[in-house]
Every structure is written in structure tokens, then in C-alpha cells.
């Protein structure tokens, strides 16, 4: 690809997924014009998890910290849309659905959480739901509508971030198909990276390698970072008229995806897996259907059984789906951090080494704020939200 002209940089970002691209975007806005940022990826840009996921921009009101974190990020997505565009940004809001009477009480709980964060969400009755989403099953009891969420196409969003960076001022070189093979260090300082096309000397490197971050961290001599793959099966329909207009989630999704604060470590490696409906309309028509979760290592084979259950469930909510042709199904690997918080910030034992990984099923939503926190910390600027819960220092012990 692009030949490495001068093999020096101020920052080398390793990993061209949504996290790496967001870091480049946010750094480019803050570094001087004389600076040079290099992004390397061993494959194409967006070739891994960020090219095989959904694109729900989700505000999570679990508590004030999580709300501030996700809300700030979703605002930055809007800025990227204004600045650059080209990634099918669609501020649909989100509809939380249920068909199990036991789950309906959760609407009020979630609404209360949004209100506690100073935001709002609306409970819709059956009639209001039908007006908003006429394609949904008519027997659904109602829904919770949160207007602040949206949908993007993550693959093209990666490019939008890089293009915004390339016009921001500093020199930005994007080098796909350039793997990191080793890390250069002097004592407790980073001095650069080595790739098959040559070394790049740099005082800062950021590891944004998603589920491969532990493996790449090992190249820098780090202990095994607590990030494991959590597989998700997805299906996408042809660009026919979509039966839905809004990002849809089963409200039980929250329990399922963001539930229990700790994870049974004996399950990591192989569990039965679970599913909850997550459907989003596509800009060209048709919809994307998820989502399942299963710990089973790096295996990217389709789990037919799980996908089958997810499709069945999706058709329960949107019966029109049954007649839509499915074009493709696939598996993506979420980078799951064992304590459920991503690792964002400096590695305390090696100066110049930064980590940004482990966003599980929210990496698209949280990419811009992650990029911003890395840029702010690297340049010694005040952070726009409290960055401490995400510092990698917590896993050093």
C-alpha cells in the first residue's frame, strides 16, 4: 500500500477498527500541523469486528458515569456527521420492546433511569407504538421510546473518521496490510514499532486491536490483558422495504447484554450462548438482525442454532421479516473486558504505551469518546468526562 516515506511518527495507532480510527480522528484535531500520525492494521481498515457488527449508537443510563460516557460519545457522532458524513447516520432513536408481560415493568424502570440522568424517554401504548412502527406485531403491549439513539454504518464510519483526520492539519498516514510484529523499547520507554515493511520510530503507540489486544500486548511484553472474544451471529436482508424504521431492542437485551456485573470465568471459552432481539433499519432498505452472545474463543463459524432462535424471535416482533430474503449471515467477535469496562489510557509500566480496547457490544457507540479520552490524556488536556473508571492501571496488579 502507501510506502512509508519517513519512518518516524509522533503517534502510531495499531488497529484500524472503529476505536483506532476514532483515536486518529481525535488526535488529528488536537496535534499541531507539524505532527505525524500513523495508523497500521494487519488487514484492511474495518476488516475485523468493526466491519462485522451492528451500528446502534446507544446511550446507556445504567448510572451517571455510564450515561455521561455514552451520551458524550453519541454527541460526537453527530459532530462527525456534520463535519464529514458518508456513513449512513440515521438518528432514529431506539424502541425498547417486550412481549412477555413480566418484562413490561422494565419500561418504567428504564424510563426512570433516563430521567435520573436528566434525560427523557417515553412510554408508548399499543396504539402509539402502532403509529410509530406499523410493521410490528399488533399484539405488542407497548414500548419505551428513547429519542437520543441512532444508527450508523460502522465500516464506512471508519473511513469518515480517517478522512476527517486527514484534513484536520497533521500528517496522517493510513497503512492497511501492515501488521505490528514487535515493539521497540528502551528501558521503560516505547521507541517505536516494527512492521514487515520496516520500523517506525515513535514515542507513543496506541494498541486498539479489539479482541487481539492481549496477543498484541504480549508483543510489548504486557501480561495477558483481560479481554476475551464474545461471538455474535447476525443476518441481513436484501434492500427491500424494511418492516421497521427505528432501532429496535428487546428490553430484556439490557439484562442479557449488560447484566450481571461479574462474569463466571468458568464460562469463558464455552457457554451455551443467549440471544435477545436487536434489529436496525438499513439506509438502502432492509434490516440487520441480531443478536446473540456466546463465549467460544476465536471461532467465527455460524452458530445455526443460536441464529435460528434470534431470527424466530425477531419475526415474533416484526412478522413481515418472514418474507424478506436474507442475503448473508456472519459472526463478529466482541472484545469483552472481564470487568465490563473498556481499557482506555496509558499502560503505567511502559511510558508511551497506550491501550484502547475491550468495548464489547458498545464499541461503535463509544469510539468517539474513547478517541477523545486518549487524545486528551496524551496531550495532558483536561478530560471531557471522568476517565478514571477506564484506566488500564486497574488490571496491572
Amino acid at each position: 500500500m502507501t510506502a512509508i516515506a519517513a519512518a518516524t511518527a509522533d503517534v502510531v495507532v495499531v488497529g484500524g477498527g472503529i476505536i483506532g480510527c476514532a483515536i486518529v480522528w481525535q488526535l488529528a484535531q488536537r496535534l499541531p500541523r507539524t505532527a505525524r500520525i500513523v495508523l497500521i492494521d494487519r488487514g484492511p481498515i474495518a476488516g475485523a469486528t468493526s466491519g462485522s457488527c451492528m451500528g446502534h449508537l446507544m446511550v446507556t443510563p445504567d448510572d451517571a458515569q455510564e450515561y455521561a460516557f455514552s451520551h458524550a460519545s453519541v454527541q460526537l457522532w453527530r459532530e462527525l456527521q456534520d463535519q464529514q458524513g458518508g456513513f449512513d447516520y440515521n438518528p432514529t432513536g431506539a424502541l425498547y420492546l417486550a412481549d412477555d408481560p413480566a418484562d413490561i415493568a422494565l419500561f418504567a424502570n428504564l424510563q426512570a433511569q433516563f430521567v435520573a440522568c436528566g434525560d427523557r424517554a417515553e412510554i408508548l401504548d399499543q396504539q402509539q407504538l402502532r403509529e410509530l412502527e406499523p410493521g410490528l406485531a399488533h399484539d405488542l403491549p407497548g414500548a419505551l421510546f428513547y429519542p437520543g439513539d441512532g444508527v450508523v454504518l460502522p465500516m464506512t464510519a471508519c473511513g469518515a473518521m480517517l478522512r476527517a483526520a486527514q484534513t484536520a492539519g497533521p500528517r496522517v498516514d493510513v497503512l492497511p496490510y501492515t501488521p505490528l510484529t514487535s515493539v521497540l523499547r528502551e528501558g521503560d520507554r516505547i521507541t517505536g514499532v516494527v512492521t514487515p515493511t520496516g520500523p517506525i520510530s515513535s514515542p507513543n503507540i496506541v494498541l486498539a486491536c479489539g479482541v487481539w489486544t492481549p496477543e498484541v500486548g504480549a508483543l510489548a511484553g504486557l501480561p495477558k490483558l483481560p479481554i476475551v472474544p464474545r461471538a455474535g451471529n447476525l443476518a441481513i436482508t436484501a434492500h427491500h422495504a424494511s418492516p421497521i424504521r427505528t432501532q429496535l431492542l428487546e428490553i430484556s437485551y439490557l439484562r442479557f447484554a449488560h447484566g450481571a456485573a461479574t462474569v463466571d470465568p468458568t464460562l469463558i471459552g464455552a457457554d451455551q450462548g443467549g440471544h435477545a432481539v436487536n434489529m436496525q433499519p438499513q439506509s438502502l432498505g432492509g434490516c440487520l438482525i441480531g443478536s446473540t452472545r456466546q463465549f467460544r474463543g476465536m471461532n467465527r463459524e455460524l452458530n445455526h442454532e443460536l441464529l435460528h432462535r434470534a431470527l424466530l424471535r425477531a419475526a415474533r416482533y416484526a412478522p413481515g421479516l418472514l418474507d424478506l430474503p436474507i442475503v448473508r449471515t456472519w459472526v463478529g467477535l466482541r472484545p469483552f473486558s472481564l470487568d465490563k469496562h473498556p481499557l482506555i489510557g496509558p499502560w503505567p509500566l511502559l511510558r508511551g504505551l497506550w491501550i484502547a480496547a475491550g468495548h464489547e457490544g458498545l464499541g461503535i457507540s463509544l469510539a468517539p469518546i474513547t478517541g477523545q479520552l486518549i487524545a486528551q490524556q496524551m496531550l495532558g488536556l483536561p478530560c471531557s468526562i471522568d476517565h478514571r473508571p477506564y484506566l488500564p492501571a486497574r488490571v496491572v496488579a
Binding site: 465500516m155 434492500h239 418472514l322 424478506l324
Partner: protein, 459 residues
């Protein structure tokens, strides 16, 4: 959603063209139960395509001598009462199981052995105007004429490259279409190279003679080293810009001239339909003259997966004779496995010699790199996702100059055809110097209804 629909057979065959039928016949005669699955509504495949049952075209479509073998095969398959499931879209397969959709119903064919004979896709190099109604592939022209007795237009331009242009011209002409021009992109030297390759193969020589005579009789001259440059028209094709190609195959603008046509049949070769094989984890390799990625088989047509055999175009484009010969080999090999008869190695020898003749022909008609410059910056390269050449180029520049990089950067190849149509073009236009990425096989290999995927029969 209703109950399980399961068929059982010892051998399941995908594709009722010459390869699939030849395998089926051999197996049936050995007393083995087979089921043939085919997307079409009658047996024959693309080459021996038949009109719908009981349909009288009113005119005779002229057939080359080789079709006699096809007719014999069709008759024999009918006589043996081999079960053919028509209108079957195979969407998933594992060793021993083939899943298909028929009349909106979800079916499973359970079988011990699988023979893959799904044929190939038409290839079309994109040129300005190729998405206008009235531009069709050479294969589509044959489907219309042979399969439905429909003339696609009145004045046709036939263009592209390879031995399939000739049958397209004769099929159109015998259906009453005036073939205004017939353009072969390869230089005239390809003709001699191809002829040298088929010398000694009597059937292929007779075939070549048949076409030469058939063109002569109608006063149609095949122009070598020439191509379509653009299609034009208001809402549909009304004219075409055509001209000569230089040494590298690139258009020579000073030779361009406009002809009035209402249909353009373009056939720039064929691409093996290997996706089912990939889904079954069969090994594949890239072989440009043979049309792209091809399944790897041993001398008995067995793939890298023990119970899966592959014959015909998916082993490499080769035509009906190769497919038939390989079909017999696969049938004989499986029969030897399931019964006490032994495998006759002469069948394999014969298949190999047919393959050699076909390879010689293919090498002569390889696309020259210059030809891709008929594709202009605003020409659509991916029709499913509506991506232009300049968008694909920009995506490759930023994301990585591979078909995967381009796909991620602009979604080219992500639509219903899953890059079957655009994949090789994207590679040949934008990805100099790297081998094309092996396509990723994903379920469903052809779009099927969500209901079909949900209502999967189980045994």
C-alpha cells in the same frame, strides 16, 4: 410454518447440467439412489436448456453438433426415472445435508455423498451504460432464447470474449434477431492458439466448423480485437459505441463508431460458482485462465472433503464435454465406494484429456488488462449496492487495495449477489499485484426467505 420436509438419497447432486446429469446417470445405473437439485424448471443446465414442457417455440433454435450428446443424456436421465427437484434454491450444505428452498418451502436432502455441479456465472466487464435495460449477459440471452423462446430485441450487439460468443450469436440469429456486430476482445492470434489446442479433438473441431459455417451463412463476421466501449439510450439501450482494442486490450478511441442496436449481449467469460464448495470447507485455489477461484479435486473428482465431489465449471471453466466427462468420473468413483464395482481409470483419462483441450482454449481467451479501461470513473461497478468505479477506487486507496478493503470502504460486493458479479472485476480493475481474496462463504449462498431459514427441517 409447517412440518419437516426431508428427502433422502444415497447421493445428492446439485445442478442438473451435463456434469450433474452424467454423474446421476452413472450412479442410477449402478443401482444407487440419487436426487438432483436444480434451480431451473427443466433439466439441461445452462447449455442444454430446454423450453418449458409442452411449449412450442414456433421456430427452431439451431443447435451445434455437441447438443446431440446433451439430448442423449437428457433422454437417458428421463428413462432411468432419476428424481430431479426443479426450482430448488440450495442455500446451505454440510457433509451429508443439503438445504434448499422450493416454492417458498424449506427442504432438507439427506444423503451420504454430495456431487457439486452448480456451473458458473456470467462475467461482464463494466462499461458506461451497462446497467441500462437492454444490456444483458450472453448467458441471459441464451436463457431467453433457449429457455423461453423470447427474442431479447431486434438488433443485437454481441460482445465480450471466449468460445461462448459463438453460440450466443447463433442462438440470437436463429430466433430472428439481427446480429449487427459480433466483437471478440481477444486478438486474432487467439483463434489460432485455440485451434491448435483443439487439434486432435474431433468433437471440438466439428463444433468450430459448425459455428464458422453458421456465421458465414448469415453474413455475420466476428471481429477480433474489438469491444463495446459504451451503451447509450434514453431509458434503455438505443445505440452502442464500439471500436478496436490495442495490444494491451485497451480501447483505441480513434476507432470508435456508433451502431444502432436495442440489445447488447455481453459475455466476458464465466466465473466458477464455488460458494457451496467453500461452505462445505472444500479447498479452492485461484486460477485466472480457468475463470477465478476453483475447487481442488483429485483424479476421481473428490474435493478435500471426503464425501464431497465436484465436477464441471466449479473445477475450472471447461464447457459441457469436460463437465460430462468429469460427471461420469464422479459417478463411477462414488459407485465404486458404495457398491462392489471397481473404478474404471479410463474414465479419468478421458476427463483429463477433455480438460486439457478446454484449458488450451481458455488460455487463448484470457482478458487482457487494458480492457478494464472501458470502465470509466462514473461507471457502476457494484450493481447491488450502486457503487461507482471512482468510489471503489477511493475505498481501495484508504482501506487497502484488495477486494475486502474495497468492500469495507464502500460496500461493493455486499449485496444479494455477494460479489459473484463484481468481485473479480473489482480485483482486476483496482488490485494490481495481489491475488484476489478467496470469497468468504456465508449462509445463505443464495438469498432465501427468513421463513426458510427459520423453518429448517430436521431429521
Amino acid at each position: 410454518m409447517s412440518g419437516a420436509r426431508v428427502l433422502e438419497a444415497q447421493v445428492g447432486i446439485v445442478g442438473a447440467g451435463p456434469g450433474g446429469m452424467a454423474a446421476a446417470l452413472h450412479l442410477a445405473r449402478a443401482g444407487i439412489t440419487v436426487v438432483l437439485l436444480d434451480e431451473g424448471f427443466r433439466a439441461g443446465g445452462q447449455i442444454y436448456r430446454q423450453l418449458p414442457e409442452g411449449y412450442d417455440a414456433g421456430h427452431r433454435i439451431s443447435e451445434p453438433p455437441s447438443h446431440r450428446a446433451g439430448n442423449h443424456l437428457l433422454d437417458a436421465v428421463a428413462r432411468e426415472r432419476i428424481r430431479i427437484v426443479h426450482g430448488a434454491t440450495v442455500w446451505n450444505a454440510r457433509p451429508g445435508q443439503i438445504y434448499y428452498e422450493q416454492n417458498n418451502e424449506s427442504w432438507l436432502l439427506a444423503c451420504e455423498q454430495i456431487v457439486l455441479a452448480p456451473g458458473a456465472y456470467d462475467r461482464c466487464v463494466p462499461f458506461p451504460g451497462w446497467t441500462l435495460p437492454g444490456v444483458i449477459t450472453a448467458g441471459a440471452a441464451q436463457v431467453m432464447v433457449r429457455g423461453f423462446a423470447v427474442a431479447p430485441g431486434q438488433r443485437a450487439l454481441v460482445c465480450g470474449t471466449g468460445p461462448l460468443l459463438l453460440p450466443t450469436v447463433t442462438a440470437l440469429a436463429s430466433a430472428g434477431v439481427k446480429v449487427v456486430a459480433a466483437l471478440e476482445a481477444a486478438p486474432r492470434s487467439a483463434m489460432w492458439a485455440a485451434l491448435r489446442g483443439v487439434i486432435g479433438n474431433g468433437a471440438r473441431m466439428r463444433e468450430a466448423l459448425f459455428y464458422a459455417r453458421s456465421l458465414l451463412r448469415r453474413g455475420i463476421r466476428l471481429q477480433w480485437g474489438a469491444s463495446v466501449f459504451a451503451a447509450d439510450g434514453d431509458g434503455r439501450v438505443q445505440s452502442a459505441l464500439i471500436g478496436k482494442l490495442d495490444q494491451q486490450g485497451a480501447p483505441r478511441p480513434e476507432t470508435a463508431r456508433r451502431i444502432e442496436v436495442d440489445v447488447i449481449c455481453a459475455g466476458f467469460g464465466l466465473v466458477p460458482a464455488i460458494e457451496l464448495g467453500l461452505l462445505l470447507s472444500c479447498a479452492a485455489r485461484y486460477d485466472a485462465p480457468r475463470g477465478g477461484h476453483c475447487l481442488v479435486v483429485d483424479e476421481q473428482q473428490r474435493t478435500s472433503v471426503d464425501s464431497v465431489y465436484a465436477v464441471g465449471e466449479i473445477v475450472g471453466i471447461g464447457g459441457a464435454e469436460v463437465a460430462m466427462a468429469e460427471g461420469r468420473v464422479a459417478g463411477a468413483a462414488i459407485a465404486a465406494r458404495l457398491t462392489s464395482v471397481s473404478f474404471d481409470p479410463r474414465l479419468a483419462l478421458h476427463a483429463r484429456s477433455e480438460r486439457r483441450a478446454a484449458d488450451a482454449m481458455l488460455r487463448a481467451f484470457q482478458l487482457r488488462p487494458g480492457l478494464f479501461s472501458i470502465c470509466k470513473p462514473d461507471t457502476v461497478v457494484c450493481r447491488c449496492e450502486d457503487v461507482t468505479s471512482s468510489q471503489a477506487a477511493a475505498a481501495g486507496e484508504l482501506y487497502g487495495r484488495t477486494t475486502r478493503g474495497i468492500k469495507m470502504g464502500c460496500r461493493a460486493g455486499m449485496g444479494p449477489c455477494q460479489a459473484r458479479i463484481c468481485g473479480l472485476n473489482l480485483h482486476d480493475i483496482f488490485c494490481d499485484g495481489v491475488e484476489p481474496d478467496l470469497p468468504v462463504a456465508q449462509v445463505p449462498v443464495k438469498p432465501v426467505r427468513t421463513a426458510t431459514m427459520i423453518d429448517v427441517p430436521r431429521r
